[in-house]
């Protein structure tokens, strides 16, 4: 499973698929304050990205891949 939901954190690992976005959205609706850990994430299908953008999530750990981190920064307007 690419997304693990913890109490106040959502941890992404490897590649988050399109199906994951559905559960991500549900979880974030119930836990709007949840923080996102992308450190182990290598790619996320853009539906997930849209959910993160719409929920204005705060990222507590960026992906290790610098370019991916930049992309996500730009999407979440963290630059």
């Amino acid at each position: 499973m690419a997304i693990t939901f913890k109490k106040d954190r959502i941890v992404f690992s490897d590649v988050a698929s399109g199906e994951d976005a559905e559960r991500l959205l549900e979880w974030l609706q119930k836990h709007p304050k949840a923080k996102i850990d992308l450190s182990a994430c290598t790619h996320l299908q853009p539906a997930n990205l849209q959910v993160l953008m719409a929920a204005k999530c705060s990222i507590i750990a960026k992906p290790k891949d610098k370019l991916l981190a930049d992309w996500i920064d730009s999407a979440l307007q963290l630059i």
Partner: protein, 892 residues
């Protein structure tokens, strides 16, 4: 139909024709900008015209076509066979709609889907913008007046979003000769459902330096969010070549825009603008060093300045850029200078405006220095409320006056502006200020400047912000002067050699020509009554002198009538190009479809023949050419294996021979194998074994024209449809044409059609049989003979005779027409026999007697008579009686 719509249809057809031709020519010379321009103009005209009517389906496609052609013309999209295909498709559709409008007066709404599809297919091709080598600079200089025709799209890009270190890397790459492209990738909303991952696609873009994701729409509340509707836009900066990017995004070309970015456009310092000392000293010193080419000094000064400045300042960013430019392009004084100058304003240089490399002058500056309230005049005021048209018109004049003055036609411009304003003032009843306008014009002319008029305008009409919406951003006076001169040079050169001559032709409705043709036909017949009359005058009334006078009058009328007839025939003459022009397209499309390579050569397109003949040629020729393409020319590899050039040739030539037009269609394909023909003919029962033995190869080959014969073992989509060459033969013979086929196995086939130049007048021989007169077209009569009854033999119930050593079968005309009356012999017991040719054979038709040959206007059988296949038609004779003209081939 209203005349305007009628005009539209007729002009549209011409344009469509033109488009087809130009595309064909472009295929041969895809680089020709002249052809491209003409092609654009055709599409442009069509589209412009269609806007006058409510024809959305038509306009949509034409609009897309125009945009595409505009992009091609401007060199943004390259011409390609695919483009030609799509444009041809679209134009076929337009042609179809035109036909529909022609018949119904409107188009059916059912075409919407096709219209949208075709428009999309055209627009898909306008994805890519090919970089101009020198950025915007070359465009500015080459374009006619001032503003580049196509604003460089790189102007509008949010390049300042790119972080400095990436911009610098990109600039470095550009300076070292790498391409630099901005990609705007907007995946469609439903792309996730199509299994696309646009983010992945974007991340993997070749040569990616930087990327950015934005949402197209503000995000809704989470509860309302549809995560599977993609609203993301991706922006990417890449050092990949255009081709690489096109290839990479080839599945979503319509969702990507690729824009070349000149490296210098990235020099956009960013940072805190505030604080710090006034840098003027530094700027002045640095500029001095720059102009003295003291690069070392400049570098040193810049570094020192940078050391004492907070790195987050705008200043520091600019200095870092300056250092980089000095490092990479020490010769680029212009860019360095701009960066230094920008320190005074703390705003980045507007590179695209500076691309011309010359000083700008913000226009209006000159005028704004003048006192503004020079003439608050006494006269009656301008009406307070001005209509939008008046406001727009005045705004346009203000705009014109704000243009730079250094053009050759400044005086003309000033006068025309004054004339326009004067008209406008008259129209709105503000006559009182017209006099002062005249004075302002005089002053402007004396000063050779727009300012006095502009000032007059400002004092009477307040400049409003939105009234002049399109003020130019910048103007280059130096460039303009040059343009003024060059326009003049070009103009006189062109006028000398290209003097205009008035229209020498007029368009006449086809119906009117047909009517004229019928009238002259009646005239010829009526004139033929005169010899009868002369005969009656002499024989019945016994007035010989009158008879002679009638005859001499007849000679005059006859001459005039013949001349008239000739002239009208000339009017009806059309060049064979009317038929030929469809072949380039046909050959192109068909050979593509078949995977063959075919070169079409057309000759003698200017050869003329009567309109009816030309029109009747169309279908048979198409059939013959399709046959050549389908069965004649071999596949390229086959040809190569046979030692022939891979590209086959189809050669069509028209020539005039005496009173006939001869059309020869030749191909260098595989030819026709007489053995196969013989076998097939035997199988199909067209010939019997006995005949097979005697058949020469040439005769065998000609069997393809026999009814029910088709050599294609499988009926192909192209030449097949179940009709064979017999249809061709029938169609050609219908207009009194003949055809010959020669073929050499493995070498090719040659078909020769021979047709009369005109079919308006037919020569017939009148024969008498069973007290009736019949006409026989002279073309089918070989000779007339009288044969003694004794020489007629009966072989197996069939009559025959021997004529010059050949057996000629004989048939009585009466029995051919279903009348059981034997032919009458003359006093010497000889029977009149008309020898007619039937293909290669001769047949004798026994009649009662021969009469004269006459020229007649053959009218086809109409109404219930049309079913009588024995007759080719009827004609009026000079004495008013009707002559039935036999169709010899049908009755035998």
């Amino acid at each position: 139909m209203n005349p305007l719509l009628e005009q539209f249809i007729s002009e549209s057809r011409e344009s469509l024709q033109g488009i087809g031709e130009k595309l064909m020519q472009l295929e041969k010379e895809p680089e020709s900008s002249e052809l491209m321009t003409e092609l654009f103009r055709f599409v442009h005209t069509l589209k412009g015209n269609s806007g006058l009517f409510d024809l959305p389906e038509l306009t949509r496609v034409l609009h897309a076509g125009e945009d595409l052609m505009d992009a091609v013309r401007n060199g943004e999209v390259a011409y390609s066979p695919l483009l030609a295909d799509r444009l041809l498709d679209a134009m076929d559709f337009v042609g179809l709609l035109c036909d529909e409008i022609d018949t119904n007066g409107s188009t059916d709404a059912k075409h919407v889907n096709n219209s949208v599809r075709l428009a999309d297919s055209l627009r898909q091709l306008i994805v890519v913008i090919v970089p101009t080598t020198e950025g915007a600079s070359s465009a500015v200089v080459n374009e006619l007046p001032i503003v580049p025709e196509q604003p460089d799209p790189a102007n509008q890009l949010p390049l300042s979003d790119i972080p400095e270190e990436i911009s610098m890397a990109a600039y470095r790459a550009a300076v070292t000769g790498k391409p630099l492209h901005w990609l705007a990738y907007s995946p469609v909303e439903e792309c996730f459902f199509q299994g696309d991952d646009p983010f992945y696609q974007a991340r993997q873009t070749p040569g990616i330096l930087w990327g950015d994701i934005t949402a197209r729409t503000p995000w809704p509340k989470l509860a309302e969010l549809d995560p599977y509707c993609c609203v993301l836009d991706f922006s990417i900066l890449s050092t990949a070549t255009l081709e690489e990017l096109q290839e990479y995004y080839r599945y979503v070309p319509d969702q990507v825009r690729i824009i070349p970015v000149p490296g210098s456009f990235l020099i956009l310092p960013q940072g805190e603008p505030n604080g710090g000392p006034v840098y003027e000293d530094f700027v002045a010193d640095a500029l001095k060093m720059l102009h003295a080419n003291n690069i070392a000094g400049l570098t040193h000064a810049t570094r020192s300045m940078l050391d004492v400045s907070n790195p987050n300042l705008w200043l520091s960013a600019a200095l870092r850029w300056l250092l980089l430019v000095i490092e990479l392009e020490p010769d680029n004084v212009f860019v360095c200078e701009r960066i230094l100058l920008s320190l005074r304003t703390m705003t980045p240089p507007v590179w695209h405006e500076l691309a011309g490399g010359c000083d700008t002058r913000i226009n209006g500056d000159v005028n704004s220095e003048l006192p503004h309230n020079l003439a608050q005049e006494e006269s009656e005021p301008v009406p307070a409320m001005l209509s939008p048209e008046v406001t727009a018109l005045i705004a346009a004049q203000r705009e014109i006056l704000s243009l730079p003055d250094d053009i050759a036609w400044l005086a003309g411009r000033l006068k025309s502006v004054a004339a326009s304003l004067s008209g406008c003032l008259h129209a709105i009843g503000a006559n009182g200020i017209i006099q002062s306008l005249g004075a302002a014009l005089d002053e402007a002319l004396a000063q050779r400047a727009s300012a006095p008029l502009l000032h007059w305008l400002d004092s009477h009409f307040k400049p409003s912000v939105d009234a002049a919406p399109f003020l130019p951003q910048s103007v280059q006076p130096a460039t303009t002067t040059q343009i003024g001169q060059s326009v003049e040079e070009v103009k006189y050169g062109r006028r000398a050699e290209d003097s205009y001559s008035g229209p020498k032709s007029i368009k006449v409705d086809q119906v009117k020509i047909d009517r004229l043709m019928n009238l002259i036909g009646e005239m010829v017949v009526a004139k033929n009554a005169l010899p009868y009359l002369a005969g009656r005058a002499e024989n019945v009334f016994g007035v010989r002198d009158l008879s002679r006078e009638i005859k001499s009058q007849y000679a005059v009328i006859n001459r005039i009538a013949e001349e008239m007839q000739d002239t009208i025939m000339q009017v009806r003459m059309m060049p064979v190009s009317f038929v030929f022009q469809r072949f380039p397209r046909l050959v192109r499309d068909t050979s593509h479809k078949l995977g063959k390579e075919v070169n079409l050569i057309l000759e003698g397109e200017e050869t003329e023949a009567d309109k009816n003949i030309i029109e009747s040629l169309g279908d048979p020729l198409v059939h013959i050419v399709r046959n050549s393409l389908d069965h004649g020319v071999e596949m390229p590899d086959v040809r190569r294996a046979l030692g022939k050039p891979a590209t086959g040739t189809i050669f069509i030539r028209a020539t005039q021979e005496a009173d006939r037009v001869v059309i020869e269609i030749r191909d260098d394909g595989k030819g026709i194998d007489p053995e196969i023909i013989k076998r097939l003919a035997l199988e199909k029962g067209i010939i019997d074994n006995e005949r097979l033995e005697r058949l020469t190869d040439q005769e065998a080959v000609n069997l393809v024209f026999a009814a029910g014969f088709s050599t294609a073992s499988v009926i192909s989509d192209l030449s097949g449809r179940g009709v064979g060459m017999d249809v061709v033969r029938t169609a050609i013979e219908k207009v009194n044409g003949t055809l010959q086929l020669e073929s050499e196995k493995g070498r090719g086939t040659r078909i020769r059609l021979s047709l009369p130049l005109s079919m308006a007048v037919t020569n017939v021989m009148i024969v008498e049989s069973n007290n009736q007169l019949f006409g026989v077209p002279i073309g089918s009569v070989v000779e007339t003979v009288r044969i003694p009854r004794a020489d007629i033999h009966t072989i197996k119930k069939n009559q025959a005779t021997v004529l010059r050593g050949r057996i000629v079968p004989l048939k009585p005309l009466n029995s051919l027409l279903g009348q059981h009356v034997p032919p009458r012999a003359n006093e010497e017991d000889e029977l009149a026999v008309l020898i007619v040719s039937l293909g290669d054979e001769s047949v004798g038709i026994m009649v009662d007697n021969f009469r004269e040959t006459v020229e007649i206007i053959l009218k086809p059988m109409t109404g219930v008579l049309a079913g009588l296949s024995a007759y080719a038609g009827s004609a009026l004779l000079g004495d008013g009686s009707v002559l039935m003209v036999l169709d010899i081939k049908e009755i035998l």
